[in-house]
């Protein structure tokens, strides 16, 4: 079982570019905006670094959805 039972157990990985989307997520925190706790942000130097395997391996390990922002 997933160690996180919240959000009906769903887990979403958000790959974010450190220059924009990651910084934007920080700002969203500063502004106390809300989004589901299922989202776990993973910082990348650039979303161009992301490859298919990183997406597929995450899905294979049981992650429910992937979001890419950058």
């Amino acid at each position: 079982m997933s160690p996180d039972a919240s959000n009906n157990g769903s887990q979403i990985v958000a790959y974010c570019c450190e220059h924009c989307a990651y910084a934007a997520a920080d700002l969203a925190g500063g502004l106390r905006l809300r989004y589901p706790p299922a989202i776990k942000i993973v910082q990348l130097p650039c979303t161009g670094k992301l490859d298919e395997l990183m997406v597929l391996q995450a899905l294979e390990s049981g992650v429910d959805a992937i979001m890419v922002a950058g």
Binding site: Y22, A24, G29, L31, Y35, G48
Partner: protein
Amino acid sequence: MLEEKPRQSKSNRDGADPIGAVLVVGGGIAGMQASLDLADQGFRVYLVEKESAIGGKMAQLDKTFPTNDCAMCTISPKLVETGRHPNIEILTNSEVLDLNGEVGDFSVRVRRQPRYVDVDKCVACNDCADVCPVVIPDAFNEGLSLRRAIAKRYPQAFPNAYAIEKRGIAACRDACPAGQRAQGYIALIREGRWQDAMRVIKMDNPFPGICGRICNHRCETACNRGLVDEPINIRALKRFVTDKVYAEPRPQVETAEQRFDERVAIIGAGPCGLTAAQDLVREGYGVSVFEAMPVAGGMLRLGVPEYRLPTYIIEREVQDIIDLGVDLKLNTRVDDLDDLFVQGYDAVLIAVGAHEGVRLPIPGADLEGVLVNTHFLRDVRLGKYQNGGPKIQELGQRVLVLGGGNVAIDCARSAVRLGREVHLACLESREEMPAHEWEVQAAEAEGVHVHPKRAFEEILGDGSGHVSGMLCSLVSSFSFDEQGGLHLEKAPQSEHTISCDTVIFSIGQRAGLAFIPDDAGVGVTGKQTIAVNPNTLAATRPGVFAAGDSVSGTAFVIEAVDSGHTAARSIIRYLRGEHLEPAPKPDLPVVKLTQEEIDARMARGEIHLQPRVPLPELPVHERIHSFSEVEGGYDDESAQHEAARCLACGVCSECMSCVFACGVKAIDHDMVARDENLQVGAVVLAPGYQAYHAELSEEYGFGRYPNVVTSLQFERLLSASGPTRGHVERPSDGEKPARVAFLQCIGSRDQNHDYCSAVCCMYATKEALIAKEHDPDLDVQVFMMDMRAFSKGYQAYFQRARERYGIGYTRCRISALWEEPNSHDLLVQYQDESGQRRLERFDLVVLSVGMEISEGVKRLGKRLGVELDEYGFCHTVQFNPLETSRAGIYAVGPFREPKDIPESVAEGSAAAAAAAARLQAARFTLTREVTYPAERDVSGEEPRVGVFVCHCGSNIGGYLDVPQVTEYAQSLPNVVHAESNLYTCSQDSIRHISEQIEALGLNRVVVSSCTPLTHQPLFQDSLRAAGLNPYLFEMANIRNQCSWVHSDDWQAATRKAKDLVRMAVARAARLAPQHTVDVPVQNTALVVGGGAAGMSAALSLAEQGFPVHLVEKENELGGNLRFIRTSLPRTGLGLDAGARAPAKVLRQLREDVLSSTKIQLHLESEIVASRGFMGNFTSTLRRADGSREEIPHGATILATGGEEYRGPEYSFGEDPQVVTQQQFEALLEDIPGEIRSVAMILCVGPAEKYCSRICCSVALKNALALKERQPDAQVTILYKDIRTYGFKERLYEQARRRGVVFMRYDDDHLPQLTRHEPLALEAWDPSLKRKLALEPDFLVLSMPVVPTAQSRQLAGHFKAAVDDQGFFLEAHVKLRPVDFASDGIFMAGSAHYPKLLDETLVQAQSAAARAARVLSRQNLQAGGRVAVVDPQRCTACLTCVRICPFSVPKISSSVTGAGGVMGAAVIEAAVCQGCGLCAGECPARAIQLMHYTDEQMYAKVGALITPDTIPVRVSLGD
């Protein structure tokens, strides 16, 4: 260990050498750029910024044109880079006072205003702002939202620390003898924080309930709100709070700990004595209070009538002091002062008050029925007259009170309540009575008969020794002499009798000082008060102090409190053996608002008329029959309503809420301004602009009409971090607007501004376009005179806005607008292009405000002695465009002329080059380097992870279970230690992490706190300090991306924090150390192009001490500069000043280049190949004779220029009367006969597609030159827009004044050449709506500048990019305007984009500065987060070569690839940017990005679902 040490000692510098430091004024984008370029080149930089954070105007912007990049995303890395640079010292809240000396050796005095927050301690947790009660308009949001008095300027601000805004001492506080922070507790009442308000009051006053009732409230007289309507009812608010708090059960008062042996005796338990007792006991001294009466409270308890001050309030407040541990001795009269010392007291405070009533020495003063005020009031208070009390018979039915002061009124009103007929006679007139007017009125309302202007002659007796009346005269005038003697003039024959049976003297009180023996050594004044030093309240005998009424004579309770505090402080100093005189305190100004400021704030809608909320009062018929309190109190709602009227004049009220809230003790309200002296060799001024104050153009209603906003406000409305989180809303009602109008040129191109602000057309277009992206249904109309889209990509951007986004542009200057009062909609009247008058309604109007120089900057200019023009813009030399009138001081950015970000950035770099050239001998003399201990080799060690979980005050700990997360972290594999910290980033925690690494042998560290974007470098430092490689570090962002966004769900936030920590630990266990290696730098430059740009870049580099190869394909230097005959006058007035100047510049540049020993000139030569990377290029030169030479160089500047387009348009090339502007300029030098008329057509040929920037100005320059020589010549200019940006606008104005005819055309109505010899031209005049025929002698075509064919080829050799037109493409259009994306290659001049001569010279210097940044280093650091190729897997497929935006990967034929085939990719670590694109794309997975390897990333993501159960066992470092 972490000390910063100079790389070379300062002693290397002998007297003649310049100082290797530069002062940069202004922390906006231009100032930051200058600072970075200087610091990187080995100079120490002092960056002075007047705000509390750097970032300037750009930080306020939402997006930037023409790329629509997020402004904050692009500027924040610069903020971090500037902020963390070891050689940049940022001085915030600072201003330059003066400057002495000369270039190379300036002495600068800088005033550092207090921030009241220690930047080194502040962890920016926001706890202080959460409790600050003071709200003010948020300047960063242009007043569209409110912020607290303590704040960070904006979320991403650097320094990442809060600052307190203090304007001074609020008038109320200043007026209060005890310094009550009224503004503070009023603000807290507004917020409904009763207990906090009470705390603020009690900090300065132990008697809030008492003062809330009987204080004479001088604060209200001083209150600035009185200038608006009525002062705040401060006293009633104070009473309100005490009533609220006292209605609650009384909390136990904790006894203060006695920490010292010394004991103090206080004589008198009145407000003064008790205040001192409180202070001394709290400080840790033993205190005994001796009170002669059976009750404590002094005059409050025994002098003030119950109807004004209920006994329970006094008892409560007295008890709160006694319970601190004061030894109160009631009924204990001190008869002998000396005896107290005998008893062992170390100091004595005399605070006996003034309880002795005074009788006038007139006949009858001893009759029965004559009383004195103090005894009467005391007896009333002790109940001796009421309800059959012992003295009830002594009081007659007709009572006459003698005296007109407040005590007399108290006597009279008390007598009324005892059912007597009461008269009051006094010396003064009714108006001059010393009692407060409201007291007299209340007395009269209660039936007291006042007899003013009476002299008291004799008290008449009834024969049995009892009073029967008072013989009086009328007073015509009176005065007191210096000794207090009365001089009276009575009206003749005015004697009369007021009949009465009781007389109460109330003409003054004095202290009873009989207990002081004559030989006690304590002096007494003639007024029967104790002689003291007014500063220390020390009496003439050491150890004896006196305070309160016994020193001052009768005063008010708040003065007694103040006196008590002062005495206590003196006594403490005395007991400690310190100097008695108090140390001087920081002198804050008192805030007195002027009527003008009030009016301005009202005009801006910040203040509205709102009278005082009235207080309930007991009706007269009820109050005269009892001693019940007359005045009622506010209820919650009316109190908060009244409190909300406060103007918060002081801004910070020093309520100290922040001090209580701050967990790292970073706040210090006692900080003072201090002046600092800096020694610098040069100065760069980048103070920036201020937006035009739109309220000055009253016709547009800004400030009056809520839905009229400025463009900067609109920028904030669009911003996701702005007041509406990026939703455009109308300020009047928060509704989404459907129609928005932009009004251009507000504060530009008008009667008061003869210049164009250069950016407004584009930013309005950008704001319109972004608003449309937010809401595609929005209707946006822009009203403008010309569209000034004059730079790279601007024209296309404008066309996109109009055509793709449907933004309407109307050529019309709006002269006024009106508001529809109910809807707050705005009505705009204008004439459309068909000439039709139209009236349109808009929901929101945006005023595109122009740039001005602020008064503060003008004063700065004067103080520094640099010449400014009438608008305050800085004069600079046209052909040395950044140098001010004072050598060694450079001006950049809009301070010189209105301009956009990229020009400002380029100028910042260029100023760095100019300063560096002056100071190059002192490079690296004052720079500092951080040193760390040698790195520990952790290879072969099992991972030992330490996890540090941060509470961040309550920011994390308040929303999720930090102890549980910490415990969980401890259970994770590889974790050997987990702990939580209140603030992990505080200085002591940082040190603690280093200590733990060493003590526990940690070799990986995970910090679970905030964001790595701001805090990672800080934590990495703690690893380096402990000898650990900084790459062995990982962060879990459990604040910004967890506690803050899930603050409503404790369980879910805690679970997510655990997930994030687990993921971080999984990656951390697999992290490997990364090392950088030094790659030596070749410090020679290559400059390609021998025109103005190339020559000046080469010269700038040579002056900075670097060898330069200058390559020119022609056989002479000069480029396009050879064809420029006249310069563009800066002001547009007086052409002669600049005539032939370009030739002088050319000559000078040529001579300097030829005579420079550092420049090796290669004429008739071309670069045909180049290889290598930043710091280590090798380029191949081919000479005219075909010979080749390989040139090694570290940096490259491409300055190959542009050329005037020469196409077939308008029969150019066929008809000799049709010429280009360049040809016409030459022709003007030697005019062939008379020219009757000239027609000029602008925007010819490719200029239809892009704006060539310079043509309008050049055409106007030439038109004016012709008019100068032949004033009667007719000049007609056919144009689409006149784009004379900045001061070039003056040329346009001048041309119109000189009679140049301007005729607009558009793409649908191009001018037609209808005949040759003589020329005939037909053009459509849109205003006349008819065709006009022209017969000019010459048709002059403004042909655009186009890139040379060579540019594209050359760019190819250097793997540098060009745009659609073939111009060089900069790395970032705003922030890296002269850099190519490929490192180490820079551009200058028209090969980048058409530009005027002064712009070219600036850009050349800018490119030189950027190149010098590389050349000045001995080594480049290579490695760290870089891509590494495994050649065994590489098939040389070119994917990486093609995808890298920085052209870094190369295929090397000498490396063996997969399968043993020769040829594999090589990635040079020194220039790899670490983005990882190649690693992501490599089909063979032959490339790994270090620190983001597949293994590390899979582990991190995999741990989200499947916990890492098996400890990693890795051998590191192999």
